[in-house]
């Protein structure tokens, strides 16, 4: 087996997409250490950020993830400076504390001054990051050179993930997801009806901090793999995609976790197959693709179905309009089979175009007939159909007694009692 060339390790080499050999791919997914580690890491981070991201998106805190992932930097560096250890758990703890402090400062600014949330987010994000950079550059100039690789926390180096990193990620994720399950009802209340929750006696402030802490935890778990910038996408994208498919929180969280995992694994696999596709950006693009597909094709809200529904109802409306217009015209003539020109129908139509098509459909149904050169008249079925439409719409019945009188007796409740 050829040595795997990971773009993260050799970023500056031109490359081609190798033809995909599925069997070889599965072999590697199961037996290649690097790819397996990366794929598992990406899957774990996708699951946890997808699940917790759902709450961030629902609570309109999507950008909080962005701010907190940047704010984690000074925590990572300080944790290293204080302990001189690069154990993932130590760095994660530092990041967690920094992200948490950033969130508290953010809430304080928003609650206590007239500064709006967007400015506060941008401030916290950039200032914490700047301070982290100062610490990082300061550390790098210390004689102790073990800090090399700290900045991988920043930009993400999924390819450099080790098995022990993945194990740490998995343990922390399990912890976060367990807490999420334990406080499920409370978090649901917090997200949808905070005041109601408070009136039931739940400590909403504490729950808010707990949920935010879990989100910070999820972000910190992913930092090492996809980096500061792209981690925010992993919080938002799977959840935004899942939101399109369902209105139920439970379904959304599970779906979001699945989407996150799918984006993680497919991103890892693609980046291992194609040169130049670093894992972090590829995972993010995979997640973005899921979002685009969901927005377009989601079963209920999707734009495509929406458009189709819109077209369908537009056509139906047009059809009915042509039908009732013909009915109106017929009611003004003694002879119900008198033909009316398509031009007249066009002039009466509220929408532009489509009259000829509507007539063709009506003819197919046997409701109208062509009685001469582009002259159209209702058939008797057409008349009752038109009357049905008029009744459904609740319009005042048109003065059309001559039609009823001439064509046939009113049939059932379709006709008017007269």
């Amino acid at each position: 087996m050829p040595a795997r060339r990971f773009p993260g390790i050799h970023p500056f080499r031109h490359g081609k997409v190798e033809p995909v050999d599925l069997i070889a791919l599965f072999n590697e997914l199961f037996f290649d250490y690097t790819l397996r580690t990366v794929a598992m890491g990406a899957a774990v981070l996708g699951i946890v950020s997808g699940a917790l991201g759902s709450f961030a998106v629902l609570r309109k805190q999507s950008l909080l993830g962005d701010a907190m992932s940047h704010a984690a930097l000074p925590g990572v560096v300080l944790a290293f400076l204080l302990t001189r250890s690069k154990a993932p758990l130590v760095l994660v703890l530092g990041a967690l504390i920094a992200g948490w402090l950033a969130t508290l400062w953010l809430m304080n600014i928003v609650n206590r001054t007239r500064i709006k949330e967007d400015s506060a987010l941008a401030l916290v994000l950039s200032v914490f990051f700047g301070f982290g950079l100062v610490l990082l550059t300061y550390t790098q100039r210390l004689p102790d050179a073990r800090q090399a690789g700290l900045d991988q926390f920043l930009f993400g180096q999924a390819a450099a993930l080790l098995q022990r990193d993945v194990v740490t990620m998995a343990i922390l994720s399990t912890l976060a997801l367990t807490l999420l399950a334990v406080f499920w009802k409370e978090f649901k209340l917090l997200s949808f009806d905070r005041e109601f929750g408070a009136s039931l006696g739940f400590p909403m402030g504490v729950l808010d901090i707990l949920l935010t802490t879990l989100l910070v935890l999820a972000i910190v778990i992913g930092l090492q793999a996809v980096g500061v910038v792209l981690m925010s996408a992993m919080v938002v994208a799977p959840a935004a995609a899942a939101r399109q498919w369902t209105d139920r929180l439970g379904v959304m969280v599970v779906l979001s976790a699945i989407f996150g995992a799918a984006a993680g694994v497919s991103g890892a696999v693609i980046s291992s197959l194609a040169q130049g596709f670093s894992t972090g950006p590829t995972v993010v693009l995979a997640a973005s693709a899921i979002v685009v597909i969901s927005i377009l094709f989601a079963s209920n809200r999707g734009l495509v179905w929406n458009w189709v529904r819109h077209q369908r109802s537009r056509r139906r409306l047009q059809l009915e309009n042509v039908l009732t217009n013909l009915h109106l015209l017929a009611s003004q003539h003694a002879d119900a089979t008198h033909g009316h020109s398509i031009e007249v129908l066009r002039a009466m139509s509220a929408q532009r175009g489509g009259v000829a098509r509507s007539l063709a459909v009506l003819k197919e149904r046997g409701w109208v007939e062509n009685v001469g050169d582009n002259l159209w008249a209702l058939t008797s079925e057409g008349i009752s159909a038109a009357q049905k439409v008029i009744q459904e719409r609740g319009f005042e019945p048109l003065p059309s007694s001559n039609i009823d009188g001439q064509s046939r007796a009113p049939e059932g409740d379709g006709g008017r009692a007269e």
């Binding site: 309109k60 999507s62 962005d66 987010l121 100062v134």
Partner: protein, 369 residues
């Protein structure tokens, strides 16, 4: 101070001021996070521009970046208009995606050029003086200074020219539309200006710290004044202060200059956040404290007023009784009474409290209110 140090400070100063000006409007329009989004996506513009002209110092790159900046804003607006995602989520979806495309393009196709993602995110102003601007063979200073100087001049000119339009569309978009000011045009114009500024600045301070320079000085100014020209002026001053103090902090610690500038901008904000005369935390706490005492004194005079001249007044209107009646701690009650005495609302007559005329007046008014 060496020549390099002076040049670095000049560049930092010009950059900070150029960022603070459009930043003030971003903050007022509640679009601060857009600066974060744009500062990431302009990378795509630079990469695309580079593929077309194959020259990293071409002004076309700035143009490409401005186009992508506007594209970012439009994509966010488009996503939002589907009403399937909220604005914050739309921003969070668009910019990482565009940024990822840019990163992949760079690692895949532009590996041989000096376009380093780390440098884009972090920037390195310390190297800016090495890139000289030498038209016709004479060295007239670092290139960055001229680029940022030009951008500063552009921002200043545009803000002066369109000051009225910007002001009205920021504070009253409805009125601006009625007056025929084309708010959309102003919106996208401002976004282009932000994009151009970001591109110029991120060579120097990096994309994330541009956000600090765009947001921190204006929001510090926002807590100090309600007057737009004064806010712009204060933003410029705070930006300049962060730039200079950041430089010296970095020299002291031998650390990242851009990071220190952002940290100083944050520190200035923290100071303003605490000590601003009207909107600061300390001022707010003092206001609350004062209100607490005034409220207690009003309670006291109302209590006295209610029982004044009635048989139980002898019993009710004693300092010791306030503890039972108003649930006041004896020490607290004593302090309230003393403060009320200072105000000349209350006098003590052999152990009993009596209202003065102004105190009675205040009680009457407080009850009516």
């Amino acid at each position: 101070m060496s020549g390099f140090q002076i040049e670095i400070q000049l560049i930092a100063l010009v950059t900070a001021i150029a960022c603070a000006l459009p930043g003030a409007f971003l903050v007022l329009r509640r679009m601060a996070m857009m600066s974060d989004a744009i500062s990431h996506t302009v990378l795509l513009g630079i990469v695309a521009g580079f593929f077309i002209v194959e020259d990293l110092s071409s002004p076309w790159l700035i143009f490409g970046a401005a186009v992508v900046g506007v594209l970012t804003v439009s994509l966010v607006a488009l996503l939002q208009r589907t009403r399937l995602v909220k604005e914050d989520a739309a921003i969070g979806l668009v910019f990482p995606a565009l940024f990822s495309i840019a990163v992949i393009l760079i690692t895949r196709y532009a590996g041989s050029v000096h376009l380093d993602i780390d440098a884009v995110l972090i920037g390195e102003i310390a190297f800016a003086p090495f890139d000289r601007f030498a038209p016709f063979g004479t060295d007239i200073g670092p290139r960055g200074l001229y680029v940022m100087g030009g951008i500063l001049l552009l921002n200043l000119t545009l803000i002066i020219l369109f000051y009225k339009e910007l002001k009205i569309s920021t504070f009253d978009p409805g009125l601006a539309a009625t007056l025929g000011f084309a708010p959309a045009l102003i919106h996208y114009g401002l976004m282009s200006v932000v994009s151009v500024t970001v591109v110029g600045a991120f060579d120097i301070v990096g994309s994330i710290l541009v956000v600090a320079l765009m947001v921190a000085p204006p929001i510090s100014a926002y807590l100090l004044t309600d007057h737009l020209p004064r806010m712009l002026g204060l933003s410029v001053i705070f930006g300049a202060l962060s730039a200079l103090s950041g430089f010296w902090l970095a020299t002291l610690l031998d650390a990242s200059i851009a990071g220190s500038m952002a940290s100083m901008a944050g520190l200035i904000f923290a100071l303003v956040f605490l000590f601003a005369p009207d909107h600061g935390l300390v001022a707010a706490a003092r206001r609350r404290e004062r209100q607490r005492w005034i409220f207690a004194q009003s309670m006291l005079v109302i209590h006295l007023f209610n029982h004044e001249g009635l048989p139980e007044a002898d019993q009710e209107n004693r300092v010791e009784h306030l503890h039972d009646h108003l649930r006041w701690h004896p020490g607290f009650a004593d302090r309230v009474v003393r403060k009320a005495e200072e105000r000349n609302w209350v006098i003590r007559l052999n152990g009993r409290l009596a209202l003065t005329q102004p105190g009675r007046e205040h009680a009457r008014q407080a009850i009516i209110r």
